[in-house]
Amino acid sequence: MDFTFSEDECLLRDAAREFFATEMTADRLRRIWEEGGGCDDRLWSALAELGLPGILVPEEQGGLGLDEAGAVRVVEEAGYVALPESPLHAAWLAPFLLPTLGEEGRARWLPRLLSGEARIAVGIPGDLAVEDADRAHLVLLSEGDALFALTAGSFRCEPRTSFDPGRRAFAVTPSIDPVCIGAEGARIAAELLDRAAVLAAAYELGLARRILDLAVEHARQRCQFGRPVGSFQAVKHLLADVAVRLQFARPVVYRAAWVVAREAPRRALAVSHARLAAGQAARLAARNGLQVFGAMGYTWECDLQLYLKRVWSLAGRCGDEALHRRRVRQALLVGDTVPGAGDTFAEN
């Protein structure tokens, strides 16, 4: 089995990284936060122009035809710059969700989504709010056996506050009847949660890497007692712990993306494992990064706070830690899963 990413996937990752590094600097992010957070129209247009909304859309429908396993590194790069990610994540869920609206729904929304003309927002099952719902032309809500496809005027948005100024979250109340998808509803809701959780996990990997890079840089430059603070073991070990946790989380997330892309068995286990591993790596990075910086790291002027707040606010989205722990426990104790490497690459 070849575990390496293809040349195309690396090429796209590099292009996205270059774009993000130039366009999504900490200063730009701070400005976006000051102006209300979320993904503004200018940023969305730039993302669409680059072709990012279509990376998971099949080539014959105008996209790039990547699958989750190939796209995961682009998501990681988005996390590295704390890109206001919600409309992109929604776009990446669209190829899965839009077919439930029928051919007409897909034909109506997909081309507009790819061109950047339309934005969609997706309510993830279990999440209390829908990100960027007020700017969306279409809001998709999956609830039980029902799927709501809400266009302007067919729902009410009530803003929710967050300690993360980058979030633009709303409670959405539909004022129309849902599209009834019957028994398919539960399956779609479960798969939607898994797909969103993989994206969130990859995004957390990027956030953790950014926090680690910032903390390492700070530890190299900040001097105490005539030496850089990074030369002291107590500081060095904080950072090494994060590096190890991150390194161990990365293949778990890549594997989960592969499982989702190939519809391999035990998807819930792989996804929840990834979400736990990435989430823990990101939260450890946030905690240790803040220790290395000291209280200054939380101040508005310090770039570190931008990434810390994203980590903390992501923790409760796309399934919290308790939910993912429960799913892993269930798979291991109730299901037929054998823990260990032997099950890792089972294809069916």
Binding site: D8, L11, L12, A15, A16, E49, L50, G51, I55, L64
Partner: protein
């Protein structure tokens, strides 16, 4: 009209370059390489001419090592139609590059040639001028605006005293300055499409060009490190130091 654009593979502008320990050149081991920023502006201008319907085809050409195909692919992703790589040793003199480009121009017969005003590694600022002289074509260097009007091209040049506008009969050679345009990002679909666009590979010998060096590189060394500054108590002390220590005023 066909537009020919020359692109060069250089060390990425974000990289802090270091000389080799033996001083024989710049250390390129494991260094990120990229398309020369001025060449990127040239590609962007050519693509804009095509989008405006002025140009029919944009051909990018690079003279350099095999790896320069990466920079040609970048140019193709930005919107160029096809590429030509003239494989040669990495460090050619501007005269040799100009001779190679002249041979390519004679074969391709472009209506306009656009180059960066200089590359950020050698900073020679010679190739465009040499190419125009070798071809006997008009040249508009340091362009901040390029407008094609019938069989002429109007080039606004950035010169020391301000802006100078020249009108050249086509075919002509234009070199780009920083403010000519802001290059676009290559979109992800275009990056994928660029992989399918053709790149022709040739060699200077096949074009009948002698690229032997006429100059000898004696050594490369880093600039001297800056010394720390000092604080002076008042203007009188400053003047004294400038006069007696730095000896920069009489």
């Amino acid at each position: 009209m066909k537009v020919l654009v020359a692109v060069k593979r250089v060390v990425d502008y974000n990289v802090k370059v270091r000389p080799k320990p033996d001083g024989s050149g710049v250390d390129l081991a494991n260094v990120k390489m990229a398309i020369n920023p001025f060449c990127e502006i040239a590609v962007e201008e050519a693509v804009r001419l095509k989008e405006r319907g002025v140009a029919d085809e944009v051909v990018v050409v690079s003279v350099g090592p095999t790896q320069a195909q990466e920079q040609l692919r970048t140019a193709l992703a930005l919107g160029a139609d096809r590429g030509i790589l003239v494989e040669a040793e990495a460090d050619l003199e501007p005269l040799a590059v100009a001779k190679v480009l002249k041979a390519v121009c004679e074969r391709e017969q472009p209506g306009l040639v656009i180059l960066g005003k200089q590359s950020i590694d050698g900073d020679n600022n010679q190739t465009g001028q040499l190419l125009a002289a070798l071809l006997g074509w008009g040249q508009g260097t340091f362009a901040s605006e390029v407008v094609v009007e019938g069989d002429r091209v109007r080039v606004t040049r950035e010169v020391d005293g301000g802006l100078q506008t020249v009108s050249l009969r086509l075919p002509a050679v234009v070199t780009t300055d920083l403010r000519l345009n802001e290059p676009r990002y290559a979109s992800l679909p275009n990056i994928m499409k660029a992989k399918k666009k053709p790149i022709e590979v040739t060699r200077p010998a096949e074009l009948g060009v002698d690229v032997a060096r006429r100059t000898e590189l004696l050594g490369v060394e880093p600039p001297p490190a800056r010394k720390g500054g000092i604080k002076v108590a008042d203007v009188a002390e400053l003047v004294d130091k400038l006069r007696n220590e730095a000896k920069v005023i009489g």
